[in-house]
Amino acid sequence: MQIPLVYYLVLGDEPYLQANECTNCGARFFGRRNACAHCGHREFKPVRVSDTGTLRTFSIVYRAAPTIPTPYVSAIVLTDDGTSVRSNLINIEPDPAKISLGMKVKLDTYVVGTDDDGQEAVAFGYAPT
């Protein structure tokens, strides 16, 4: 049994991220909105976000809360359909020499924890292609 880390990760054979898209201006949001932060319109539709994108910015985090494994690479990815996503970069060495701005990345998922009922939490990250 698996459960996504957050609602906007849709699990299945090909996991993907789902955004709420404003039916007026096309602005996309993860999580619910009462009205569009861009245009004020009140109607949204769920859309599948592109799995591929480019690395817009990153930081290699060494200092975090005690239970968080460090270092890890925090990133903002701009997907090929123009949506910004925050996540970790995965399957990459946390070394600035190995990470280049603008590099191509692709969505991937992994098990991030298991609860007492054996249920697995699935997280997502972006890996170099």
Binding site: I3, L5, R56, S59, V61, A64, A65, S84
Partner: protein, 399 residues
């Protein structure tokens, strides 16, 4: 046309650690200092605005009144992240402009102690995963879906600028911190007053690449206050009071307008650009007219991008700006000659008042060893993540 507002008196405590005093003591010291400096008393004040972030529900303004005078005037307690102090100032400015007050006192204060990394909340795993919160998260997402920590968020803001502009990297960011540490050696009010070489800055423990420890502001305690006066009352003051007063020629507060990436990475650029543009228009000056700038260098990466946001350099030219030494105290536009948040310190609620104190002190020609000679116009900028941006432009009295 709304009436002009002047800083009549201003004071700040040294920033640092005060284990034997509480925030009320610090705020009261700053308030009394500002009143004395302006040659007025609490009885002259028509309102008080007090900013603090971490004790926002403590009625700090009323607690200060118990220390310095309970005159029954209205108190506005304000909280606006790192723009808290600027918001306290603006509250008094708006009251005077609205005609509800002639004189008012704005205080910013914070006692943080050694509270450590902000927004790095501990992870507490549930035994059984249940979606909760806006995103239906089954566990805290900080560190899994990127970072919430301040050094990391501002690192990403800097690296985004590096992505979009040539000639910006780790070394340029580090040079910012090298400068601010060097500047702080001349400021007796700074929490740290120690110079470091570029190698030492780059070699200090990495917090969030590219921000090393010496590129991050510390937590700390401190307070600052300003007495503000409207021009009608100003005209009745003594010549000495008038000549030491500093004119507030622009006062602006903005929030972050929608941008596509804003929900994922706080946009600290657009609201700063909007605030700066409005402030330059209000004051009728441009960035080239500024004798000094105190800007919100919570992290070295932040300062660098604000060179561009405030129009201090050519668009895209922040890397070159620091490389050629332009923001050093002897450069084109001295930036953070106080040592900035990085070395002067950043007791959050105090910061937006303390940077007005710093600029005003230079415009009065009273900044001692760190005085920028001939300073006549200065700008103070703060950003509170979430987000709010305050910009004040101050001018020397012509009297």
């Amino acid at each position: 046309m709304a009436q002009d507002i002047w800083v009549l008196g201003t004071h700040m405590t040294a920033f640092g650690r005060y284990p034997d005093q509480d925030a009320v003591d610090l705020a009261a010291a700053a308030a009394l200092g500002a009143l004395d400096d302006g040659g007025v008393t609490i009885s002259d004040m028509d309102l008080l605005s007090c900013g603090t972030l971490f004790q926002a529900n403590a009625g700090m303004g009323q607690q200060v009144q118990k220390q310095i005078g309970q005159t029954g005037i209205p108190v506005y307690n304000v909280s606006n992240a790192c723009a808290t102090g600027a918001t306290a100032l603006r509250t008094v400015i708006m009251a005077i402009r609205a005609g509800e007050a002639d004189l008012g006192l704005a205080i910013g204060v914070e006692q943080m102690g050694k509270m450590g990394l902000l927004a790095g909340g501990a992870r507490k795993e549930k035994n059984v995963y249940e979606p909760s919160g806006r995103f239906g998260a089954v566990m805290p997402i900080d560190g899994i879906l990127g970072t919430d920590t301040m050094p990391g968020v501002f690192a990403q803001a800097g690296m985004e600028y590096a992505n979009d502009n040539d000639g910006v990297g780790f070394e340029q960011f580090a040079k910012v911190a090298q400068k601010n540490h060097a500047h702080s050696t001349l400021n007796p009010l700074a929490q740290y007053q120690k110079e470091f070489s570029l190698e030492e800055v780059m070699g200090s423990p990495m917090q969030s690449y590219p921000n090393t420890l010496l590129m991050c502001c510390p937590t700390g305690d401190g307070a600052a206050a300003c007495v503000l006066v409207g021009e009608e009352r100003f005209a009745t003051l003594s010549r000495e009071q008038q000549s030491r007063a500093v004119k507030i020629s622009a006062s602006v507060l903005t929030t972050d307008p929608y941008v596509e990436s804003g929900a994922m990475q706080p946009d600290v650029n657009t609201l700063t650009r909007n605030a700066a543009q409005a402030a330059y228009e209000q004051a009728g000056v441009g960035p080239e007219d500024l004798s000094l700038v105190e800007l919100h260098d919570c992290f070295a990466t932040a300062e660098l991008i604000h060179y561009d946001n405030l129009g201090l350099c050519e668009p895209g030219g922040a890397g070159d700006f620091i490389d050629r030494g332009a923001p050093w105290r002897d450069g084109d536009t001295p930036v953070n000659v106080s040592g900035g948040l990085i070395s002067k310190g950043h007791p959050i609620g105090a910061t937006g008042v303390a940077n007005v104190y710093e600029v005003a002190t230079h415009l009065r020609g009273e900044a001692g060893d760190r005085q920028i000679e001939g300073a006549n116009v200065g700008l103070a900028h703060v950003i509170g993540l979430g987000s709010s941006c305050g910009v004040h432009i101050l001018e020397k009295s012509g009297i």
